[in-house]
């Protein structure tokens, strides 16, 4: 849509909304079915109110209004994610693990530049407790192993020291089956998730665009359908399991 079209369309919508708010009761006897928009819906609950030719015309205008094209930006481009979940020591271990497992390359950001540690802190903060425990214990174990072997925290370990505590637990895996051994499982999953958080980040997508490569990670996204299950979670009554006695209808 050209800019002048957008301005015109916006003016019409504003005028319509104002007029609908002042709508006098119409007289028509043949209501026109509702076709959309919040304002019209509010009128249509009393069908006669929405049935005047003028109201119908305005509703049709509003119904034909098309969404203007306003470019939007992912928040990660301009803002940072607050770190809230991991303790300082665990978070430092995670940051170091991110730096080691997915460092920056010539064309693409590393996990740090992609905000993977902050994102994983956010993700784990809302995760089930068994998942949180796996991360907490895995990060503690990495740190403890490094201290034991090299008398240095994992967060301060050099690449060789870090490799010495990671590599013994690296295993290949397929499908939905990471290794069963506890620490091997943590290493497999944290590695997987650092890669995912990095490669699905806005920073990675921007780097792909800058280098002329196709947008990564494109999939078919399903929106909530008509209108989404959250409604049913909060919609408590009436319950069909306790039907009221059948009432007589006139």
């Amino acid at each position: 849509m050209k800019r002048r079209d957008f301005v015109k369309g916006f003016a019409v919508a504003t005028a319509t909304a104002t007029a609908l708010g002042q709508q006098a009761p119409p007289q028509a006897k043949n209501p026109v079915p509702a076709t959309g928009t919040v304002d019209q819906g509010a009128q249509a609950v009393a069908p006669n109110t929405a049935s005047s030719p003028a109201a119908t015309t305005r509703m049709q205008q509003v119904a034909e209004f098309r969404t203007p094209n306003i470019p939007v930006t992912a928040p990660d481009i301009v803002a940072t994610t607050d770190v809230r979940y991991f303790t300082a020591a665990r978070y430092a271990t995670l940051v170091q693990l991110c730096a080691i497992m997915m460092p920056v390359s010539s064309d693409y950001p590393g996990a740090i530049q992609a905000g993977a540690p902050e994102f994983l802190d956010f993700l784990l903060g809302g995760s089930p407790t068994d998942r949180q425990a796996m991360y907490n214990e895995g990060l503690d174990r990495l740190n403890a192993d490094t201290v034991k072997k090299f008398s240095v925290a994992f967060a301060k370990a050099d690449a060789k020291q870090a490799d010495a505590v990671i590599r013994p637990y690296l295993k290949g895996w397929i499908n939905d089956h990471p290794p069963k051994e506890k620490h091997e499982r943590f290493i497999a999953l944290v590695h997987r998730e650092i890669r995912t958080a990095t490669m699905n980040s806005p920073a990675w997508a921007a780097a792909a665009e800058a280098s002329g490569e196709r947008t990564p990670g494109v999939g078919l996204y399903w929106a909530p359908i008509d209108p989404g299950i959250e409604t049913w979670v909060s919609h408590g009554t009436p319950k069909a399991s306790a039907p009221v006695a059948r009432q007589a209808h006139s």
């Binding site: 497992m101 993700l123 995912t196 997508a205 990564p216 990670g217 999939g219 359908i225």
Partner: protein, 523 residues
């Protein structure tokens, strides 16, 4: 007020509900089809998006679908949320119940693998003594399979294997890629058949009830489709003992409504069908309703690399393509350790390798991924599980769903039969891959929990005896003659096959039987 009695009421609009609607309406019989979910609208409900634009970078909200391994942030909204319609299982017996509630059911989302059953499945008890035979044999369904394959536009190759009956195919005579040919040859030396996969092409890549079956029913002018109608009870006329319709709840408002019908077909999907029958307290004079739940094991397999394709040197003649190893164990010989058999999905890819396959990280991993690029080769099991009586579901009246309906407790587990089967599959396909000159990168003997395959079958099985089965060989309830079930709950055993084409063949057969019975005035 409406005071109608519809001719045939169909509960569920997936493959078998949609097919029943098509067959019956084309014979002039009016049908009303209810679905518990909304009408989907591909233009409105789906969008191509990069994961970087999703709130959780593709991970989805933590813990949202703990039992749906197939879920991602892209697909999360299409699945039934277990907080809305809960179910449970005994400690240590995880069950992954994967459900979709929208018009078309799971049919827009299936894998489209299209395999006929054979008498190795229909007469499995005769073959190995376990379980029960089906009350039908291959020859009973043989006239119906080609019709299903025609509707689905199944591509495949004619192989002449008794355990993998040929069909009405769009013939696939494409040559194997070099890597696949070597795998085929390795199989021949080991007595393992490797065949072309058989897959429903559908139309535009979609082989669903909503695009292949229901539009034909709509075209007759005799189909009424009502979305958002959650059937909470199938009702029975106390005087006749026959069903006389249903009570359903509007999904949005929870308004309760009654719909009268001359005949009811239940096609809600195996466990939803059984749940509804249990809630309605019908069709269970045998006492076997809810029992003999079975499916297939998935997840075990191997990942390998085709050496000559590495570094992106593959291409159409070197790598690429899919194949199927149909069941080959326990046919004419006996394999120690387990009954029945498994099939294997085989895939050779030309794309990037999966980072999980390499025990590396950082720049070393990047180097590996570059070096091995385009050389991937995988095998994945589809193994028949045994439908023991103990694998069952019961109603849980203490936990109700968002519409107040009792939920299910699902008690099922796998045993040594499945463990031994998976081990044999991994060892056999790894040996074949090595014989073909591939490098085996990962072997995985572990398989997924029950339910994962989304091929749940049984719990309302068919049979000749009303004492040991829920429906007869025509998918007709033994107890209620005007009640039919067309989904996979009627299966007697699982087989290794994707159940869809057999479900559909049974649905056509049952619908034509029903139409004839209605014409004769018997129903």
């Amino acid at each position: 007020m409406a005071d109608k009695k519809v001719d045939v009421l169909i509960i569920g609009s997936g493959h078998t509900g949609g097919l029943a609607a098509k067959i019956l309406t084309e014979k002039g019989i009016s049908c009303t089809m209810l679905d518990a979910g909304p009408m989907i609208n591909f233009e409105r409900d789906r969008t191509l998006k990069p994961a970087s634009q999703l709130p959780y970078r593709g991970f989805d909200a933590p813990g949202r679908h703990p039992h749906i391994f197939q879920s991602s942030e892209f697909s999360a909204n299409q699945w039934v949320d277990e907080k809305v319609i809960p179910y449970n299982y005994p400690v240590g017996q995880q069950y992954n119940w994967v459900r979709i509630r929208s018009v078309g059911g799971r049919s827009p989302f299936w894998g489209r693998q299209s395999f006929r059953h054979s008498d190795y499945e229909f007469k499995s008890k005769d073959h190995d003594g376990f379980g029960e035979n089906w009350p039908i044999s291959y020859k009973d369904l043989a006239p119906f399979y080609p019709r299903v394959e025609g509707l689905f536009r199944v591509s495949g190759h004619t192989d002449g294997l008794p355990q993998y009956p040929d069909g009405n195919f769009i013939e696939d005579n494409a040559p194997w890629s070099g890597a696949m040919q070597r795998f085929v040859d390795a199989g021949k030396k080991m007595g393992v058949p490797v065949t072309k996969a058989r897959s429903a092409r559908g139309v535009g890549g979609l082989a669903a009830s909503i695009n292949l079956f229901i539009p034909d029913a709509v075209a007759t002018g005799k189909l009424t489709t009502i979305p958002n109608a959650i059937v909470r009870q199938i009702t029975v006329d106390k005087n006749t003992g026959k069903t006389d319709g249903v009570i359903f709840i509007d999904r949005h408002s929870h308004r309760e409504m009654t719909l009268k019908a001359r005949v009811v077909i239940v096609a809600a999907g195996t466990l939803e069908t059984t749940r509804l029958l249990m809630i309605s307290s019908i069709a269970n004079s045998s006492g076997v309703l809810g029992h003999y739940l079975c499916d297939q094991i998935y997840g075990a397999g191997i990942a390998a690399s085709v050496p000559e394709a590495r570094g992106g040197k593959g291409g159409r003649n070197v790598t690429g393509g899919g194949a199927l190893i149909p069941r080959f164990r326990n046919l004419e010989t006996k394999t120690p350790g387990y009954l029945r058999g498994y099939a294997v999905n085989v895939s050779s890819g030309n794309g990037p390798m999966d980072a999980r396959w390499f025990p590396e990280y950082g720049p070393t991993l990047d180097k590996k991924l570059e070096e091995y690029n385009g050389s991937g080769f995988t095998t994945n099991i589809m193994g028949e599980t045994l439908g023991h009586y103990e694998n069952h579901v019961v109603l849980n009246k203490q936990v109700v769903d968002a519409w107040g309906m009792p939920t299910l407790t699902i008690s099922t587990k796998y045993g040594d039969n499945e463990v031994n089967m998976a081990k044999d599959m991994v060892d056999t396909t790894a040996a074949m891959a090595e014989a073909a000159g591939f490098e085996v990168l990962v072997k995985n003997y572990e398989f997924n929990p029950p339910g994962y395959s989304i091929h749940e079958q049984g719990t309302a099985r068919m049979g000749d005896s009303p004492k040991t089965s829920v429906v007869n060989k025509w998918n007709q309830s033994h107890d209620i003659k005007n009640l039919f079930i067309t989904d996979a709950s009627v299966f007697v055993s699982a087989g290794w096959q994707n159940p869809t084409v057999t479900m559909c063949a049974l649905a056509i057969r049952a619908s034509e039987y029903l139409a004839e019975e209605m014409r004769k005035g018997n129903v």
